[in-house]
Amino acid sequence: MPTYKAPLRDMRFVLYELMNSEKLPELPGYEEFTRDLVDPILEEAAKMCEEVLQPLNRSGDEEGCRLENGVVYTPKGFKEAYKQYCDGGWNSIACDPELGGQGMPKIVCTVIEEMMCSANLSFGLYPGLTYGAYVALKGFGTDHQKATYLPNMVTGKWSGTMCLTEPHCGTDLGMLRTSAKPQGDGSYQITGTKIFISAGEHDLTENIIHLVLARLPGAPSGTKGISLFLVPKFLVKDDGSLGARNGVSCGSIEHKMGIKASATCVMNFDNATGWLVGSANKGMQAMFTMMNAERISVGMQGLGIGEVAYQNATAYAKDRIQGRSLSGVKDPAKPADPIIVHPDVRRMLLTQRAYVEGCRALAAWAGEMLDISGHHPDPKTRQEADDFVALVTPIVKALITDLGYEAANIGIQVYGGHGYIREWGMEQFVRDCRIAQIYEGTNGVQALDLVGRKMPANFGRNLRQFFHPVADYIEGHQHNEQMVEFIGPLAKSFGRLQQATGAIAQRGMARPDEAGAAATEYLRLFGLTALAYLWARMAEVALAKIAAGGDADSDGFYKHKVLTARFYYERILPETSSLLSKIMAGGKTMMAFEEAAF
């Protein structure tokens, strides 16, 4: 059975040594979040994840959810764990204090989200969906809607969903058919079928608040004719108590590859009573507010799974004895050496580690910028941070879920045959992580978002928020003797990224398919270069601590941080060279293929 210990040491390194979380209290609204408060919060979050959520991960996967007479039952233990989770105040970490939330900085929330995803990804989806609905409703709901629904969503007494997908439309929501008929009393009758609705129906909460995309009569076709509606499972009376059951029901639950403890529902809306959220035909705008927050969260899922896969692969590699070291016996007392003596096993473990620690830094960078964009007093600083977040959101989502999936898959490989056996739990990580590359916009869609929207947005202003700090860093460190091994290759990869950016901008203008053909490789090139920049900075911090002497590195943390950085630079970053070749090859060959020949 897999185990999990939250990597608090590394998380603190990222927050307080790499990033500037020491300065969080300077941002208005975050005054309280000094390190002496954040530390115990992280410790308690770790305990909750390790002791309450993680033990239900395997059993939840084996048991799955079950639908009986329209009622969905979550696996054994989920209800109790959910109650404990909400009682502890964890449901509302990111919510507004005025609504009863904890108002925690985003950078701290991303760290806690990572822990939850490592411990139990399926469980985390229930509160995760509520938070998405909370964000949309808070941003676009009327005062009455907010007062009626938000407080109970903050405590976790009620949950939320986002109902977008229909059987014939997922990525292209412009085709959706669910209809909303005005009733003359301010309410609407919603009719249609939604599929793939996470937490659409379950037994964890008293009420479920569905946010549903639908069309008003005579609405323009395409995405410009879509509106957002609030449809509660139980209608809420004026005094706040629950009234009649609304015309929304769960038709079936999907039988999935992974995240089996998360109920993925077909939801039937049959003249269900709903209310408009935001303006008519402006539903996509509200939905994207939610979607951008969710995409960062999905990135955390890849990170969390990568971390837990690394932890267990490491434990197994130290424990599993098999054969002897190529360079001579290492443990003569035993009939064989542990497999960690082998370079190839180390290659696998260090690949996982370099991915995970690099992605943790990237997520924290995005988290820090989210905090600045939401709380900084200076509008220009806020705008710049916002540009950065817009730019890196598709990268956080796609790169981290891709690398997290690769890390999980390596986890199986380290276990050999046992990795393929359910009882060991390693294959569950792969199955659970797989969806993260797909939902909230497939990683292919993320890549198109990057090249098609984020790259050209504001005449390249977004791009500058990444290009400038990296260029400055290279410039500022190129004469630093100790950093030579990092700055050279970083400059090279950065040059490749600039070259690819220019080429795509130029070719894409004349032939849009060229931008499309380059998108996935471009996103990875961008992501790997971002990680290289962060790894250089991490190595710089670690080298300084080592140089300071004393017992700062008595546990070898910094020494191994530098070694992991070196591994990243030697064994992973060179991939940017082949990525550039692929991007420069263009899309002609692919497009020359005749459809019928496929």
């Binding site: 309280e32 002496d36 408060l37 115990p40 919060i41 308690e44 309450v52 904890q102 008595s554 546990d555």
Partner: protein, 251 residues
């Protein structure tokens, strides 16, 4: 009824302890520290007594370096009302008798009806402070408690002893030290962690209480336990008995 709960910041129970290469002590730099688990049980019990209306105030106290504030904040996140830190230098070696003397001085001022504390700290496993404190104060003691019931001014303490369970009746004020099975400490809620930061915490020194911290014990050397040797397989019962007699010398 006021309850005083002493807590100690110790190396976390899940950390694998390493001895310093020169044998001068344990490697404590960069090691995860936590509140002593037995003390956590004591604070949980005190808070439960308060929640039942049997106690009015829970005061937590720690003797140790500045970072012991973390242990006090953890105790206040569980439900302690206020804290006292008797701050010592990072390098001070603090022995149970000195702690007991400080606690006596604090008890003289605070006048608690009950001092509820862990039976021992998991770092040095001394298991002495509670007993010494009882002697210094001249109060009754109930050690290794697995159950506590309060009935007016009388505390019924069920103790875990070698032969099984023993129940003693103590008149307040009294000292009770907690064993592992007394309760299962709660997970502090997030709002309570945030509130704990704002609860009053007084910083004092040993000198404030007229206590000299100078150690009375001398540590000669700290070493790792010897590595266990691999076992052997025997062919028969007779061989086993023979080996137990001759090689092991236990029969």
């Amino acid at each position: 009824m006021k309850i005083l709960v002493p807590v100690k910041r110790v190396v976390d129970a899940y950390v694998k302890i390493r001895v310093k290469p020169d044998g001068s002590g344990l490697e404590l730099a960069n090691v995860k520290m936590s509140i002593n688990p037995f003390d956590e049980i004591a604070i949980e019990e005190a808070v439960r007594l308060k929640e039942k209306g049997l106690a009015t105030e829970v005061v937590v106290v720690s003797v140790g370096p500045a970072k012991s504030q973390e242990a006090l904040r953890s105790a206040m996140a569980i439900g302690g009302d206020r804290g006292i830190l008797v701050e010592t230098a990072e390098t001070d070696v603090i022995e149970p008798l000195a702690v007991a003397k400080i606690l006596k001085a604090i008890a003289d001022i605070e006048k608690p009806a009950l001092v509820l504390m862990g039976k021992q700290a998991i770092d040095d496993d001394c298991n002495q402070t509670g007993q010494m404190l009882a002697a210094l104060l001249g109060w009754p003691q109930g050690t290794f408690a697995s159950k506590i019931a309060i009935d007016g001014g009388v505390i019924h303490v069920t103790r875990e002893v070698d032969g099984g369970l023993e129940t003693v009746k103590l008149k307040t004020p009294a000292i009770v030290t907690t064993d592992l099975r007394l309760n299962e400490p709660r997970y502090p809620t997030l709002p309570n962690i945030m509130k704990a930061k704002k609860k009053p915490l007084e910083i004092k020194t040993a000198a404030d209480y007229g206590v000299n911290l100078a150690p009375r014990l001398k540590v000669l050397k700290t070493t790792e336990p010897p590595v266990r040797k691999a076992g052997i397989k025997v062919g028969s019962v007779a061989e086993l008995v023979a080996k137990l007699k001759t090689d092991a010398g236990v029969l």
